[in-house]
Every structure is written in C-alpha cells, then in structure tokens.
C-alpha cells in the first residue's frame, strides 16, 4: 500500500473548554477528492486549518506523505488553501495575487509569469489579470482564489466551502468544473462542505463529522446505502427510522419486531443478538406501496413533486414513514388517496439494521 497523502492520527483540538475536534483519525489517499461533511460547528474548518498549519494541535499528529508536520509552521507546508471568503489580497492585482506563492518561493520571474498565465487560463480568468479583487464578482474571485492556490502545485489542496457564497446555479456549474479540474491536475483535494448533495456528487470518499468526531468514512454510495448511525442516515438524504427488537437472525438477514409486533425484514453487517433493541433505516425511494404488505398503515399525505410523488404513511404506532414513488406515468400520483389503507414492502437488503 502506498503512503497516504495526508494522515491524521488521534488529532484533538480544544479552544478553551470547547472541544472542536475530538480524536480524529483519517487517511487520505494520493489524488483523492476527499470531503469533510457535517453540520455547522462540527469541526470541519478547524480540522482543515490544522492541516494547513493555521491552527495548532492540542494533541495528535498530522502526517504529510508519511512525514510529521504537526509542528511545522503554515508557510513551510506544501499545502494551499482556498478560503471560504477567498481572502484575496485587496491591494494586489489578480496577477500579483496568483503570483504571491511563487514569489515567496523565489521562482524566476519568467517562470512565474508563465505559470500565472497558465493558472489563470485554467480557471478561465486570463482576461482579468490586471483587475483588483474588489472589481470582481463572487464567482470570479472564487476562481482567482483557486488559481492562486493551484499555481503552486501543492501536494494537497484544502478547500473550505469554496462554493458557499455562490448562487445555486453557479454552484452546480462550479461543482462539475472543480471535479474536472481535480481530475485534470491530479492533486489531492480535501473539501469541506455542509451540503450533502455537493459531497455526494463530487467526492471519491466522504468523512461525515459530528461534534468533533468522525462518524463514518466511505465512498458516497457506501455512506448513502449503508449509513452506520442514525445521524449519518439523517444527514445524508431523507430517511425513515423504525425501532424494535431483534426477533430472528438468519446470517445477515434479520427480523425486527416493532412495538406493535409487526415483523420487519432487514439486513445487518453488524453482529446483533436476539432480543437486542435496534433501529432500522430505510430510504423513501426503496419502499414500494401496495394494497397490503410487510408493514401496514394509512396514507396521511400525498405530495406531488413532478418526477416523484411523496407519500407520508402513518403506521399503527403513529410513526410516519415517507415513501417516494417515481411518476412513471401521468396518473401514477392518483393511485392512492388520503386515508387509504396501504402496505409497505421493501427488499430486506435495503433496510439497514443499526445498533442503538
């Protein structure tokens, strides 16, 4: 196995009494597009800043290609950052902003000129090289910030919600562009976001954080299909959560008995025991509606959203389950009415058992 591009070992960060990052362990592979995803205040920025060297570690170590850099000052780390507010130097032109890192490295003038021009072309900003940052739009500033970091060919590029300040349409376009750019330059990206959709579409792997801890690391599909906690399941997309006790075990196939003794079929990667209290997570689009089924309830609400119809079904114990059905034909949405008794079915492989 190759040496990871970045490795965090038992990293802890306290700000006074606040534990911002709580014992984080991470291995990020070379050339990977890695996202740190989590709600506001969960410690994403702090983690990123520690990798950049802008924040000291309370304890733990950070390795860059196997070399400990925990005590190395920021300016000596071959790592660059695209800051959330871009942090372009207002007193320098776009060109000088992008040249800044190269100038600090005492690169010959001719080469600086060439590389700055290349970098600006790469982000399609070649025409604006003489402007000042305050003469640029948010999207343009974002591109310049990207060029200013990438021109140094860092070993790792850190991005802290770089698209956060852009409007939805531009954000979507930039997501694709960023992803393509990353593949083109082959640099390891560590990308901070609190937008789960963004993380899913762009990342090779995602680490989901909450309250300073990493809850799960995995490829987008793995995180979406096999969340290991209720928090992850909730945070990544819409989900349903049922509670019950294990009533039968058959290898990975698990029967869970709900409070009203309905038996629900599910699947578990974890070892569970009979009688254990567990949760079952199932995504709305993985449930089929029928006139009868494994679980029964009545339709509480029907929401038509174009491509899909969303049904909220109330079970006997008053839990609400959301079901999404694709509108395969124009009358699909009329199949059920509010108050109808319906049954819910799913492939047990799609219902994930979680320990409580």
């Amino acid at each position: 196995m190759t040496v990871p591009a970045v490795e965090l070992v038992n990293v802890i960060k306290h700000f006074g009494d606040v534990v911002a990052v709580n014992d984080v362990n991470l291995k990020i592979e070379d050339g990977e597009f890695f996202s740190l995803l989590g709600p506001s205040g969960c410690g994403k920025t702090t983690t990123l800043r520690m990798i950049a060297g802008l924040e000291t570690l309370t304890s733990g170590e950070i390795l860059l290609r196997g070399k400990a850099i925990g005590q190395t000052p920021a300016f000596k780390r071959p790592v660059n950052t695209v800051f959330q507010n871009y942090a372009l130097f207002p007193h320098l032109t776009v060109e000088r902003n992008v040249a800044f890192g190269l100038e600090m490295h005492k690169i010959p003038k001719e080469e600086i000129k060439k590389r700055v021009a290349e970098a600006l072309d790469m982000v399609l900003m070649g025409d604006l090289s003489r402007r000042r940052p305050n003469q640029l739009s948010g999207g343009q500033q974002q591109r310049i910030a990207l060029a200013r970091a990438l021109v140094n060919r860092p070993e790792v590029l850190l991005l802290d919600e770089p698209l956060g300040a852009l409007d939805l349409k531009l954000r979507k376009a930039m997501q694709l562009e960023l992803k393509q750019l990353q593949e083109q330059v082959g640099i390891t990206f560590i990308y901070v976001t609190h937008d789960q959709e963004e993380a899913l579409t762009m990342s090779d792997r995602i680490a989901v954080m909450d309250e300073g801890k990493i809850l799960q690391i995995g490829a987008p599909q793995e995180i979406y299909e096999h969340p290991n906690t209720r928090f992850v399941a909730d945070f990544i997309g819409e989900t349903n959560f049922l509670e019950g006790t294990v009533s039968d075990i058959n290898g990975e196939a698990i029967d869970v008995s709900l409070d009203d003794h309905t038996i629900v079929k599910a699947h578990s990667d974890l070892s569970v025991q009979k009688g254990q209290k567990v949760g079952v997570v199932i995504r709305p689009e993985k449930i089929n509606l029928a006139s009868s089924g494994m679980v029964e309830g009545k339709v509480l609400e029907i929401i038509y959203i174009g491509t899909d119809t969303r049904y909220v079904v109330q079970l006997k114990d008053n839990t609400s389950i959301t079901v999404r059905e694709q509108n395969l034909n124009s009358t699909q949405a009329n199949k059920y009415k509010r108050g109808d008794k319906v049954g819910l079915n799913w492939d047990p492989a799609n219902a994930q058992v979680l320990k409580k």
Binding site: G53, F75, T81, F83, A87, F89, F100, G101, M104, N152
Partner: protein, 286 residues
C-alpha cells in the same frame, strides 16, 4: 344592536386615533422646529466667532469694532514678523519630528497589542489610553517634573519628546482600529502561500495598514501643530511655537495680525483633519 355598539365605539376609536395622530404630528412638527432652531443657534454659537475672526483679519481698521475696508496688510505684517516666522519654524520642526517618531512607535505598539497575546496586555491596553484621558495640564506638569529630574534643558527636544508622548496613543489607537477591521484572514492567506512572518508583514499587513498609519500620522501632526498647554510647560527660551507665541501676543493686545495668523492656522487644520478622516474612511472601505 349588538352589531352597532362595537361599530360605534370603533368609529369613536377611529376619530380618537385620528386626533391623536394629528396631535402627535403637530407635536412632532413643533419639536422639529424647535430642534432645527436649536441646532441653528448652536451652529451660530460655534461658528460666528470663527467667521468674525476670518472677516476681521481682512479689516483695515486696527480695532475689531468697525469695518473700514478690505486689506491684506495684516497678512503682510504677519509675514514680516520674525518672531512669528521663528515660531512657525519651531512648530513645523516639532510637529514633523514628533509625528514621525510617534507614528513609528505607535504603529509598532498597535501591531504588538493587536496581534500578540501576552500576560501584561491589559496593562498595556490601559496605559495606551492614559495620555488621552489625562488632562493636558497634568501631563504637562508631569513632563516638566520629569525633565527637571533628569536635568534636561527645556528646548525643542523636550517639546518633541512631550508631543511624542501624547501622540503615540492617538496613532496607536487609530492604527489598532484599522488592524481590528482587517482581521487575520489576509495574514493567514499569506502564510498559507509560504510567506514567513517578516514577508507577511511587509507584503500584506503593512500595505493594508498604510491608510490607517497615514490617518494616524495626520491626526498626530494636527494635534502637535496647535498644542499649547503641554508645549508651554516644556518649552524653553528660543523654542517658542506658534500657539505659545499667539498667546504671548494676545497678552498685550489682540491685533488683526493675530486674526490673520489664526485664519491661516484654521485653514491648515481644515485641510488636514478632513484628509485624515478621508484616509481612514477609505481604509475602511477597501
């Protein structure tokens, strides 16, 4: 019936509201009138003497009681006055050197206090505003005693030191405000782009601070130009500055020459202060 009663009270209510509104707007207008008039009076009180001073500096008559005709002769007298010339020279020497020294020291203090954490920071913070809140006269006496103690002869040097002592605080506070609005984001970006502390300071922090530093320097210069109390206590023979000289001249007689001199000082202050404010505002916008 049951319908009518609420509607009637409703109507009365409406009428009352209307009256109340009318009354309120009447009071408001009265207030406005009063405050406009009041403001007018205040302005008159503030500016009438200044206008009179300027006008009478062009008055032919030696006495400020009558307007006898326009003349520039008082300005001529002023320019021929060697004592005033010497005082002006001293004033400029003191103002320039104390501004340069206090700007350098004040800026360094501002950076130190704003960017570094140290145990005695609250003390330094407090000491920084002391020269601003201490009465001039107290500061003047303290400085005088100090110079006597170290047996320093009073002269231009002591005035300069005294001016530096009070100017440092103003410069430091203005530069600090600028630093606080700048935040640390730019410096962090620089260090992320491989700039060490020295490079970060000269390439990023300092250029961004320049408007604040210039604003502080101009402010210090203005304060130094017209300081009387502290200068009077710390000056010696031959080191008279303009304000001290003017006070000396008025002891004998208020001549139109003083009006002319005051007018010129007024003009210089009126250009320097807005310039300083403008620099600070520009700094805030960028």
């Amino acid at each position: 019936m049951t319908d009518q009663i609420p509607s009637k009270t409703h109507q009365t209510q409406l009428r009352l509201d209307y009256l109340a509104k009318g009354y309120a707007s009447f009071i408001n207008r009265l207030k406005q009138l009063f405050f406009n008039g009041y403001a007018g009076l205040v302005y008159l009180f503030l500016y009438a003497p200044i206008i009179l001073l300027v006008v009478y500096s062009f008055n032919e008559s030696r006495f400020p009681t009558y307007w006898t005709g326009f003349t520039l002769q008082w300005y001529r007298v002023l320019f021929d006055d060697h004592l005033v010339g010497a005082a002006l020279k001293n004033t400029l020497i003191v103002a320039t050197s104390s501004t340069i020294i206090s700007t350098i020291i004040g800026t360094m203090i501002a950076i130190g206090v704003e960017r570094y954490r140290f145990r005695t920071k609250p003390v330094v913070d407090g000491l920084l505003i002391m020269p601003i809140i201490i009465p001039d006269i107290a500061m003047a006496i303290m400085l005088l005693v100090f110079f006597k103690l170290i047996k320093m002869n009073l002269g231009l040097y002591t005035i300069i030191i005294a001016h530096v002592a009070f100017n440092i605080s103003f410069v430091a506070i203005i530069v600090r405000a600028r630093m606080a609005t700048l935040g640390t984001a730019m410096e962090e970006a620089a260090s992320d782009l491989y700039a060490n502390e020295w490079q970060t300071f000269w390439r990023v922090t300092f250029p961004l601070l320049i408007p604040g530093i210039l604003g502080g320097a101009l402010f210090a210069f203005t304060l130094s130009l017209d300081d009387f109390v502290i200068t009077n206590f710390t000056s010696g023979p031959g080191s008279t500055t303009l304000p001290v000289r003017i006070v000396g001249m008025t002891r004998r007689n208020i001549t139109p020459e003083i009006n002319a001199l005051s007018t010129l000082m007024l003009i210089s202050a009126m250009t320097l202060v807005p310039l300083s404010l403008w620099l600070q505002r520009r700094a805030k916008m960028s």
